[in-house]
Symmetry: C2
Subunit: 390 residues, 2 copies
């Protein structure tokens, strides 16, 4: 019928799919055929949304809360988020600086679209969360992927940032805890990054979506350092609300009007029901549930980290947060993508290949997510052990 | 604190806020001070989401349906949407061509980001829905606003499209029924536009979000013409699910993989709960409710159209759909934005200034939305009449 399909924009050749999706689809096929698969590839907590949030959602539904909210979100929710900064971090944030977004994805898109002109550069780590660079690509900016490894804690250290900053650099985007490495930036490092941004007239953007999911330590929010840092957060991870699609952005007061204007145009608003439900995320009963789950994640990490090292995976930095272990598999393969397929087919274990997080040493790294039960993790490790000993 | 705020990207100077938001905020102030305001500015049905959809949402919540769905949406929902094309239009659409999105906003963003390279042009009508051109601006494309008026039915006629098509044109985006005019393109016009797109190697994108809300006629879907037209739709208007943030895109099979890849990166997925709830939108009991509401909209239009003409507003084309009347107010003002403010303050009536929809004759046009009860519309007309006779 169509001999002349409209061509795709050039950017589409640079925007990669998540390679793990093909593995996940194959895993589902195998499961449909009766095979048992241990899932350690999924970047989503296995817990359902906590009961108090579900109950708040039910109440909002019964009340018919189905119309649009303001573009920046319900004011009571923005106030509740500000309250969270006060109670958890002792940091005072004006609620008008908080913009509620459709997931952290919406927040990333807002801030990068508002700040990045064509040809301007954004510094990020390689490895890193793969969507980030695509938000930059969409607006015709350029992502500079800074190779990082165990030596720098898989983080954009102030030294690396200074080295890679050029006249074309407009922003740095860091994550603490980070995906896939689970590592944190120290407050001292964040301070130095902020000083660099100030000095060069660029922006510091800090992804804090794994805050709360730290083990044996607490992460400071970058907002404690300055009001002119852009901070992204999400209800998906610690608060367990992935499918609700709700996150937020805290911006300098100078930028709120522009970001609100952009949100009006790009999204209209975040989902209304999710916003009403999320109000219950800051109740004491919900916080108790989140802290119980955090303990379970800590137990899983404390099991999986030494178990993987025993199998021969190289995990040089102890990750302190998120729910991932980024592991060198050099001893086993020089092509981790093919190897992940093999492990799925032959060991019944699904993990994510390094290529989903960047280019630097991606072929000798894989990511394990401990978003499944301790029993499943033990089964996964047993299967990997048996396979590797063959 | 911040002597050196990071500069906004140049695109932000082109992305306008909705001017009606300032009017709405002022209206809320007046109401808070005890004034009565008739709202004819709001582009959102006044009805709550229909009970069968609410019930389906409650069931999904009780079942803990709170995790991510696939990026393109739940397959049962994609199949239900395909069934809707079959039953309502007699058109067969492969469910794999349907991508469920966070509102029609998400669908517009997907298709324009996937197709428009920097500097490439998209034809749209002036007046038109204001967000559309900003999705193009964000990816550094150029919107060519084609001035339209009563003569062309406020539509991009094939003749206008041929006149404005240049070597830089990559796509046309039309809406039928349109916002703000409520007018439709005929099937013959859509066929001609499609032929033009085919001939020039560009894309035809048709916004059908007001489908179902036509009065005295049914609109054909552009999908009946060809499989290579991009069609956008929404659960917000006819289906009454605004705050749920759910829409969809039907794409040529050739483009589905790229659009799915982009959706993964930009949104991850549409809200899960909304997708489960929307399954109930295709039940007979929900359809009865939608058709009842459609009758109420028709009654409101049939009242408001002659009433406004009697007051002296110029509405040359009878709008057949949506819930808007785009009215010339040349007799009263040459500055419709200021005039809207005056009407709000002095007559207690809120309407939308033409400037929110483009530049062409915007200063002598306003938009009335009949998203409020017949009684309120009557009160609004009475207030306007009293004010204009002073």
């Amino acid at each position: 019928m169509n001999n002349n399909p409209p061509p795709l924009a050039a950017r589409m050749t640079d925007i990669q799919p998540f390679h793990v999706m093909a593995l996940l689809a194959r895993a589902r096929e195998l499961e449909a055929a009766g095979r048992s698969i241990v899932h350690m590839e999924i970047g989503e907590p296995d817990f359902p949304t906590a009961a108090p949030i579900i109950a708040a959602g039910e109440t909002a539904l019964a009340q018919g809360q189905t119309h649009y909210t303001p573009a920046a979100g319900l004011m009571p929710l923005r106030i509740a988020i500000a309250g969270h900064y006060q109670s958890r971090y002792g940091v005072s944030v004006d609620p008008t600086r908080i913009i509620v977004t459709p997931g952290a994805s919406g927040a990333l898109q807002l801030v990068l679209t508002a700040l990045i002109d064509p040809g301007r550069q954004v510094l990020m780590t390689d490895p890193g969360y793969p969507c980030n660079r695509n938000f930059v690509r969409v607006v015709e900016g350029e992502t500079i992927l800074v190779p990082t490894d165990a030596e720098s804690g898989y983080q954009l250290t102030p030294e690396l940032a200074r080295t890679h900053w050029t006249d074309a650099t407009a922003a740095m985007l860091v994550a603490s805890p980070a995906n896939p490495s689970g590592t944190l930036l120290t407050t001292a490092q964040l301070r130095e990054l902020h000083a660099l941004a100030l000095q060069r007239g660029g922006a510091l953007i800090v992804d804090e979506i794994y805050h709360g999911l730290t083990y044996g330590c607490e992460a400071d929010t970058a907002l404690a350092i300055s009001d002119d840092i852009f901070v992204i957060n999400s209800f998906s991870k610690y608060f367990g609300m992935t499918g609700w699609r709700l996150g937020w952005l805290v911006a300098p007061q100078t930028h709120v009007e522009a970001l609100d204007r952009l949100a009006q145009n790009l999204f209209l608003a975040a989902p209304t029901l999710a916003q009403h439900a999320a109000l219950a995320a800051f109740t004491p009963e919900a916080q108790v549930i989140f802290e119980q789950r955090r303990k379970l994640f800590a137990e899983r990490r404390d099991y999986l980290l030494p178990a993987l090292r025993n199998l021969g995976f190289d995990i040089a930095v102890e990750p302190q947060g998120a729910f991932y272990l980024y592991a060198g598999c050099e001893r086993f393969t020089q092509d981790s993508f093919s190897w992940c397929r093999t492990l799925l087919e032959e060991a019944g274990v699904a993990i994510t290949p390094g290529i989903d997080f960047g280019n630097y040493r991606a072929n000798t790294h894989v990511r394990f997510a401990y978003t499944t039960s301790l029993e499943q993790l033990q089964e996964g490790v047993a299967r990997l052990g048996a396979y590797l000993r063959r």
